[in-house]
Amino acid sequence: MNEETTRKDAGTPETPEVPETKSASTFRLVATLAIAGALAGLLIVMVNQHTKPIIDEYKAEQLRIAVYEVLPGVERYNTYYLVNDSLSLTLPEGAKESEFKRVYVGYDTSNEIRGVAISRGESGFQDVVMVIFGFDPSTGKLTGMKVLDSKETPGLGDKIFKDQVFVDQFFAGPETPLVGVKIGAGKGNPNEIDTITGATISSKVVIDIINHGLEEWGPILEKGVPQESTQ
């Protein structure tokens, strides 16, 4: 009894706002949101179908530019997929391209292998940092590095691609595996990279990505890159 009156009291101030309706049934509430959600999903799928090819094409173009950037002096490159632990130019039939790991092997004008580019992501300070780096398999030296995607803190972590001094170190041909050192703490070894003050984690992530990538791909690449049959 008492409970009922309080409930009524709590209900009264609401009524003048929307006078025409009594409170809707639970079914109607759920149905409204379900229909709205379904329509929203449909709309998103339609737009996604339209924009996805454009986005993918742009990303492929960015990747193409990045490969040439991290492999200086390369005339053209081939994409090799890792199929059953060996490198292959072609994919097994019916397989999806996105499921395979890959390297980009760059050639100079006389069809000699000049460098190999690997793209790889690892979690950084905020989100996954995607890096592409190139190295020369004959000397083991890096030839370049470019951050493809990062959400690192603007002003601090984003120096991994905005700080030219840091980036240039990767193009100066350091030996691998890399070691990150604080500025001034290095001993002048050829595999040292000065980390960025205030962005130690982000710079270490870049170094880790490169080292792990080399660890993973080193043994595979040592077996040799298969000859191109088409050339």
């Binding site: 809707a24 949101l33 709205a36 929203a40 998103i44 339209h50 986005i55 742009y58």
Partner: protein, 211 residues
């Protein structure tokens, strides 16, 4: 409720009740992405698209939305348009999309947009709601471009990436960092408060003189 004319609905959002500078709504994007005019414009365009579409849809569907779930419904509508804006920007303006990063997705929680739905579109017809949304969108754009302009000119010495002072200009790096956003907003509000007060004093003076 106070009755207003169509033109009042339109003008109100632009200056008198400017969402950023007067209502203090949507400050997150206003502070975060205004380190250049180009970013400010891209953010404004995305927000403008979202607020106009949401207002039209909410005002046209308002009689089907039970009041118990209206906020969820508004958020659903806004989130849908934000996702669309995100995909369209990524396809047609990838550089800006990369620069704005997570802030595009965060338009969903821009309380300026939700505020307009709850305070206006849910109670008014489609035509008035669209006018209100356009006004608010323009107001937001003005505020963001103003901040972006100050910060880009002082922080990088350029306007819309067009260099203004030549190579010898020493940029105030702080202006493009987050702290610069707060400083700029503070100074803009200070200036607005100063002029507002002077206007009031003048009005009081003339009223005194005429009486």
């Amino acid at each position: 409720m106070r009755k207003t004319t169509a033109s009042q609905d339109f003008i109100r959002g632009i200056w008198e009740e400017n969402p950023v500078l007067i209502q203090m709504l949507g400050l997150c994007p206003a502070l975060a992405v205004t380190n250049s005019v180009k970013n400010a414009l891209a953010m404004s365009a995305a927000t403008f698209f979202v607020i106009c579409c949401s207002s039209v849809l909410v005002s046209s569907c308002k009689r089907f939305i039970p009041k118990e779930v209206r906020i969820s419904a508004y958020i659903l509508v806004i989130a849908t348009f934000v996702t669309l804006a995100d995909m369209l920007l990524q396809a047609y303006a990838p550089v800006q999309h990369k620069e704005l990063g997570a802030f595009i997705a965060l338009i969903v929680v821009n309380c300026m947009i939700l505020g307009r739905q709850e305070a206006f579109s849910a109670k008014n017809n489609v035509y008035r709601s669209l006018l209100d949304a356009i006004g608010t969108g323009i107001g937001f754009t003005i505020a963001l471009v103003m901040m972006g302009g100050f910060r880009e000119i002082l922080g990088t010495g350029s306007f819309l990436e067009f260099s203004l002072f030549g190579p010898n200009f020493e940029p105030w790096v702080i202006m493009v960092l987050p702290a610069g956003g707060f400083l700029t907003l503070g100074f803009i509000l200070l200036a607005m408060g100063f002029f507002e007060q002077r206007k009031k004093a003048k009005a009081a003076q003339t009223a005194e003189a005429s009486s």
